[in-house]
C-alpha cells in the first residue's frame, strides 16, 4: 500500500460481535456438523470476586496481629441431623471429580493433598475407588443420577454423602464420558461395556422434586444409621429457591456451584450460556438460609472459579461456610503445565487453554485413563503440591481475616466488603466502593 493509499482506506477492522473465536466456531461447526464438547467451566469474562475488595480495619475496627493472634480456620459440617458431623481444619474442600474423568494417580493426589491439610475430598460419577478411600482421611461420597458404582458398602465407608442435583458448568444437564476413557476398570465400575460412550443421566432414577428428595434423604440416613452428614449439590441457577428447597428436604449442607465450576465434558454452548456466575449466586443462597433461620445450621459450601485465598475470603464474607475447589486443584497437581507446552502445541492448543479433557490425551496424566499418560503423574509429588496450595489459600484467608479484625475466618461478613462495579455491588449486595449505594436494595 502506498503512502497515499493510507489516506484512501481504513485499516482492516474485525467485528466485536464476530470475533476470532466466534468465526472459528462457525467454521468448526460447519465442518463437523456437531457441537463442541470440552472440559472446564465458563471461560467468558464474568462478574467475579475480583470485583470485590475488603475494607480492612481502621479507626472503628481493630486488626489482629499477623503472627501472634490466632485466627481460626476450622469448620464443622453436618451439625443439623448427622450423628457424626465432619470437622475440617480449613474451610476449603476438594470438589467431586470422578475416577474415569480423572486418572487413578490424580484421584490419589487429591486425597493425599486434602488429607495433609485436614480437609475433605469427594468422589464423582463413577463410584469410590479403594485407592481414593485409602488416601482420603475425609471422603464425601456422591450420589449421582447415573448411580454408577453406587453401593451400600461404599455409602457406609464414606464420611459424608453428597446428593448431586446439578453442577455449575451444566445445571440441568447430564454427562458424557467418551469411549476412549472407558477402560476395562472404568467400565466394570459402571457396569457398562468397555469402550462405549458413557452417558450420565440428568435426573435421578428414583426421585424427582423436593418432596421425593426429602424421602430419598431419609432412606440414605436410614441406610447409614443417621451417622453421615448429607449434602445436596446444586448448580447455580435459582439459588434462593434451590437452597430453600434443599433445606426443606432435610439436607445437612448445601453445595452451590457457579458456572465457572468445571466439568469433565459437556457442550461449550451449555458451559458458557446456562447458569449463574458464582458471585451472583452466593447472596441469594445465604438469604434463603437466613430467611429460614438456618444460616450456619445448614452449612453452605460454594464452588466455581475459586482461585486464591481472596476468593475464599470473599465467599466466606458473603456468608458461605466453606468453599470447594476443582479446577484450581487440578492446576495445582499439574494440569495445563507450561512445561508440557510442546505436547499441548502438538494437539493444537497451548498450556493454560487445554480443555479437551474428554479425549483422554492429557499429557499431564490427569484427565486420562491411558496407563502410559497416567503414569506421568506422581501422586505423592502432586499431592504435596496440592497440600502446599491449600495451605497458601488458608494463610491468605487468615491474612485478610486478621486485617479485618476477625479471630475466625467465618467471622468475615458482608460489611467487610465493597464492590468495584455496579454489577458486582448488586450481585454481592455490598456497597459500590466509596458510596453507601447497594444497587437493587430497597430503602428501609
Amino acid at each position: 500500500m502506498s503512502a497515499e493509499d493510507h489516506w484512501k482506506h481504513t485499516v482492516p477492522r474485525k467485528s466485536a460481535t464476530f470475533d476470532d473465536y466466534a468465526i472459528s466456531e462457525i467454521r468448526r461447526a460447519a465442518t463437523t456438523g456437531i457441537y463442541d464438547i470440552r472440559g472446564g467451566g465458563a471461560k467468558r469474562k464474568l462478574p467475579h470476586f475480583d470485583d470485590l475488595l475488603f475494607l480492612g480495619a481502621s479507626m472503628s475496627r481493630y486488626p489482629l496481629e499477623g503472627y501472634r493472634e490466632k485466627c481460626s480456620t476450622d469448620i464443622t459440617i453436618g451439625t443439623r441431623f448427622a450423628e457424626r458431623p465432619i470437622h475440617l481444619k480449613i474451610p476449603i474442600t476438594i470438589a467431586g471429580m470422578s475416577f474415569g474423568a480423572l486418572s487413578g494417580p490424580a484421584k490419589e493426589a487429591l486425597g493425599r493433598g486434602a488429607t495433609a491439610v485436614g480437609t475433605s475430598t469427594t468422589t464423582g460419577d463413577g463410584g469410590m475407588t479403594q485407592e481414593e478411600r485409602a488416601h482420603s482421611q475425609t471422603l464425601v461420597y456422591q450420589v449421582l443420577p447415573s448411580r454408577y458404582g453406587m453401593n451400600p458398602d461404599d455409602l457406609r465407608k464414606a464420611d459424608a454423602i453428597e446428593i448431586v442435583v446439578g453442577q455449575g458448568a451444566k445445571p440441568g444437564g447430564g454427562g458424557m464420558l467418551l469411549g476412549q476413557k472407558i477402560t476395562k476398570r472404568v467400565a466394570d465400575m459402571r457396569s457398562l461395556p468397555e469402550g462405549i460412550d458413557q452417558r450420565s443421566a440428568c435426573r435421578h432414577p428414583d426421585w424427582s422434586g423436593p418432596d421425593d428428595l426429602e424421602i430419598k434423604i431419609q432412606e440414605l440416613r436410614e441406610i447409614t444409621d443417621w451417622q453421615k452428614p448429607i449434602y445436596v449439590k446444586v448448580g447455580a441457577s435459582r439459588p434462593y429457591y434451590d437452597i430453600a428447597l434443599a433445606v426443606k428436604s432435610g439436607a445437612d449442607a448445601v453445595v452451590l456451584d457457579g458456572m465457572q465450576g468445571g466439568t469433565a465434558a459437556t457442550q461449550e454452548v451449555f458451559i458458557e450460556n446456562v447458569g449463574l456466575p458464582t458471585l451472583a449466586a452466593v447472596r441469594p443462597a445465604v438469604q434463603a438460609l437466613q430467611d429460614l433461620g438456618m444460616h450456619r445450621k445448614v452449612q453452605l459450601i460454594v464452588s466455581g472459579g475459586i482461585r486464591n485465598g481472596a476468593d475464599v475470603a470473599k465467599c466466606l464474607a458473603l456468608g458461605a461456610d466453606a468453599v470447594a475447589i476443582g479446577t484450581a486443584a487440578l492446576i495445582a497437581i499439574g494440569d495445563n503445565d507450561p512445561g508440557l507446552e510442546a505436547r499441548y502445541n502438538a494437539m493444537g492448543t497451548t498450556a493454560g487453554a487445554y480443555d479437551d479433557w474428554h479425549e483422554g490425551r492429557d499429557p499431564a496424566g490427569i484427565t486420562t485413563q491411558d496407563p502410559e499418560l497416567s503414569a506421568r503423574l506422581d501422586p505423592i509429588i502432586a499431592g504435596k503440591r496440592l497440600a502446599n496450595f491449600l495451605s497458601v489459600l488458608a494463610l491468605e484467608v487468615q491474612t485478610i481475616a486478621r486485617a479485618c479484625g476477625k479471630s475466625h475466618v467465618q467471622n468475615l461478613e458482608p460489611e467487610d466488603l465493597v464492590a468495584l462495579t455496579i454489577e458486582a455491588a448488586a450481585m454481592a449486595g455490598v456497597p459500590l466502593a466509596g458510596t453507601n449505594w447497594i444497587p437493587g436494595s430497597r430503602p428501609g
Binding site: M176, P205, D206, Q218, E219, E222, T224
Partner: protein, 229 residues
C-alpha cells in the same frame, strides 16, 4: 420369629436392629406389622434373613438390599428395592414408579403391575413383573433382565445398554435404540430360570415372549443419529 409392630416402634430403630444382625444370626425371620405406607422400611439390610412386611409400604422399601429375602404383603411405593445388590424382594401387590431402579443384583418379583420406569438404570438386577409395566421401563438399562408377563407401556428400553427385556403381552412402543431380538436357547434358559425363581413354573409358554435389547447404534455418539436422541 421377631415381630416388630411399627405402630409403636420407630423405623429408625427397626433398621438399626436389622443392620446390627451378624451373618450367623439366629434371628433369621422377621415380621413387620403396621407398615402403613411408611418410607424406607428395611433398607440397607445385609444379612441372610427373611423379612415379611404385613401391609403396604411407602418409598424405597428394601432399598440397597443385600442377601435378605423381603416379602411385602401389599403394594409398594416408589423405588422399591432401588439399587438392590443381592437377595430377593417380593411384592405381593402392585409397585409404584422406579421399581428396582439402578439395582445391581438379586431378584425383584412383583405379583401385580409396576408403574413407570420399572428397572430404570438397572445394573444387573433381575425383575419379574407378573402384570404390566408403565412407560419408559428399563430406561438406560445396563445389565440384568426385565421379564414382563403382561403389557409394556411407551418407550420400553429407551437408550438401553446390555440388559435383556422379555415381554409376553403387547408393547406400546420401543424407546430409542431398542429393537426386538431373537430368543435363542440361552435366552430361553434364562427366561425359564427367572420364571421359576418367581414361582411361575407351570402354564407359561416360553414361546409366547418376545425379547428386546439394544441395537447398539447409540453406543458411540454420532451426528448421523441425531434424530434418535
Amino acid at each position: 420369629m421377631a415381630t416388630i409392630d411399627l405402630a409403636n416402634f420407630p423405623i429408625r430403630k427397626l433398621n438399626a436392629e436389622l443392620h446390627s444382625l451378624k451373618p450367623d444370626t439366629n434371628d433369621t425371620h422377621w415380621r413387620v406389622l403396621n407398615p402403613r405406607g411408611q418410607h424406607a422400611i428395611a433398607v440397607g439390610v445385609d444379612a441372610p434373613v427373611t423379612i415379611e412386611v404385613a401391609g403396604h409400604v411407602g418409598y424405597f422399601c428394601a432399598g440397597m438390599n443385600k442377601q435378605a429375602h423381603v416379602v411385602i404383603q401389599g403394594n409398594a411405593g416408589q423405588g422399591v428395592a432401588e439399587n438392590m445388590m443381592s437377595g430377593f424382594v417380593h411384592v405381593n401387590g402392585d409397585a409404584s414408579q422406579a421399581a428396582g431402579a439402578s439395582g445391581c443384583g438379586g431378584l425383584l418379583v412383583i405379583d401385580g403391575n409396576a408403574s413407570a420406569r420399572c428397572g430404570i438404570s438397572m445394573k444387573g438386577i433381575d425383575i419379574v413383573v407378573k402384570g404390566s409395566v408403565g412407560h419408559l421401563s428399563a430406561f438406560m438399562a445396563q445389565a440384568g433382565s426385565l421379564v414382563v408377563l403382561g403389557d409394556a407401556g411407551e418407550a420400553i428400553g429407551d437408550s438401553i445398554y446390555e440388559a435383556h427385556i422379555y415381554v409376553r403381552g403387547q408393547v406400546k412402543s420401543l424407546g430409542a435404540d431398542c429393537i426386538e431380538k431373537p430368543i435363542t436357547d440361552r435366552h430361553k434358559a434364562e427366561l425359564t430360570r427367572l420364571l421359576e425363581a418367581a414361582g411361575e413354573v407351570d402354564g407359561i409358554d416360553i414361546g409366547s415372549f418376545r425379547r428386546y435389547g439394544s441395537a447398539r447404534n447409540l453406543y458411540h455418539f454420532h451426528v448421523d443419529n441425531i434424530g434418535l436422541y
